[in-house]
Symmetry: C2
Subunit: 314 residues, 2 copies
């Protein structure tokens, strides 16, 4: 199922890796195929989202047993996602909870790379979600085969070996090998927009424009990811220690680089939900003729321009 030899070379099977396993079909297939390819030194990470009542505990036991059977390590934690979701959507809250759990295990086990079971349909859906939200290209690419993400001071390398594999192929893989799996809890947490895109928009596009439409969107999304990689080479590697940014050099950057620079800066400061509008509000501060020298951030923080710099204040 995993065809990318480059990935195999970049992440040799003998090394230790984390793997996110919900117990659903996708992560079970990923786990099985990695073990099959000779990855023995895995640490299964399972976050109990506490979203499915007693089923949540059954999911956890199911994954734990699987870890024992495959003879790989197992890390588990619980998070009250519904409580976390007061300030954001359930989907966002669940994702944030997972990543902070992954970062914790990564630190404890001294292993910074995690395999995630996102597949080609996830990629296409995420691309369309970002497009329909008007996220702009920074957000459009969304998922890359290999990417890094800084979570609670831990630099996680996220690897998605299934990004080129369709859900239907995963289905076949699972059926052929008679793999057991649990109903995926995350399907219950689907944001309404993702749900409509998966169940209505994509089928309608296929009906109206033909079967290859998903493949074509996938191709565009993948090219755009490669372009994101290019833009990243233009940005400073670490921004986390910068509390302030000088305005003048920023103003000289082209628009595309400027936006990504500000996006990265806000992200490094752990600002949640950095959308296009927020970046544009911060960008407006770079105009020194603009009398407004302050813009609000979530959680009662703000960005201020003073003495030729912008910085984040509580």
């Amino acid at each position: 199922m995993i065809k990318s030899k480059a990935l195999f070379r970049a992440f040799p099977p003998k090394d230790p890796y984390l793997i996110g396993v919900s117990g659903g079909r996708d992560s079970i297939a990923l786990l099985h195929s990695l073990v099959d390819l000779g990855y023995k030194n895995l640490i299964i990470c399972h976050l109990d989202h506490q979203m499915r009542g007693r089923s949540s505990a059954t999911d956890a036991r199911f994954v734990e047993k699987l870890a024992a059977r495959y003879n790989v390590d197992f890390a588990i934690e619980s998070a009250n996602v519904r409580a976390l979701a007061k300030k954001m959507s359930i989907e966002t809250a669940a994702r944030e909870a997972r990543y902070s759990f992954f970062a914790k295990v990564a630190k404890r086990r001294k292993c910074r790379t995690i395999f995630i079971a996102h597949h080609a349909d996830d990629l296409v859906e995420t691309f369309l979600i970002n497009l329909f939200r008007g996220a702009g290209s920074t957000g459009l690419s969304g998922m890359r085969e290999v990417t890094t993400r800084r979570v609670n001071d831990v630099d996680l390398t996220i690897v998605r070996p299934l990004l080129g594999v369709w859900r239907s192929d995963i289905d076949k893989y699972v059926r052929k090998r008679r793999l057991k799996f649990r109903e995926d809890a995350s399907n219950k947490n689907l944001a309404p927009l993702r749900n409509r895109i998966r169940r209505r928009i994509i089928p309608y596009l296929e009906k109206t424009l033909g079967r290859n439409i998903r493949q074509n969107i996938w191709r565009t999304a993948t090219i755009m990811s490669e372009e994101e990689n290019f833009f990243e080479t233009l940005l400073p590697e670490k921004l986390s220690n910068l509390t302030a940014l000088a305005v003048e050099p920023l103003r000289k950057m082209s628009l595309a680089v400027q936006r990504r620079m500000l996006h990265k800066w806000l992200r490094a400061a752990d600002v949640a939900d950095i959308g296009f509008d927020l970046v544009e509000r911060v960008r407006a501060l770079l105009d020194v003729t603009n009398r407004v020298a302050k813009t609000n951030l979530p959680q009662d923080r703000h960005v201020r321009r003073r003495a030729g710099q912008i910085f984040i204040e509580l």
Copy 2:
């Protein structure tokens, strides 16, 4: 209707400009609003596509009279688009015929800038067409407010003042001022894909996801255009005299720049219909371990790699 002051500054009303006028609603509205803004030195360019029988001649007379009424210049030519369309789609053939006509007038009148009436709905449709074709990001952006295009050795500057204006606003503008217009011939030449996107996909997206969906797609498309501008600054300005490209420097470029460089090179050589697949085939030649050193182009031409260079042969 035209709100962009920057455009107004960049293209002062006292200078001479070409304007493409089919006689349809959009171009009539553009013409009227430019004259209204004080653009007096216009040269109306009307191409008779010979697609509508006797109506074509009536369209031409209609536009000619309008030119007289507005007291602006008028240039007309006929092209047998149906005959030209043997090797390409009607929509592509019509576009190619228009641009080569525009280039001819530009040369004759020593005026290199042309106003075109593309509007926000055109932008969104073109973006979706390219997305659904899997064109990759070079093609996704499609339309920009200001862009240059080399046609038959003439560098045309194409300006689209209505890219931020929706078709519904053009309708209102035309109704309010009781402007007469002709049924747009180009609507008859709509490619089936554009037709389905306009009449089925976009209405379905609006119904399923809400009214602001078009606005959001427009925003993404506009951001991506700005990124295209950035990429252009990384490419050599003129490529037209280069018959060959050295392979080594190309290989060192990032993927995103490499693709655009090859795209621009093929375009400078007047290669028609440069799609993603063609660029990828040429890109494959850069791999010197690849034993294939030749790939076909339309019209019996091909690209060959020899002695560390790639070049186009008849």
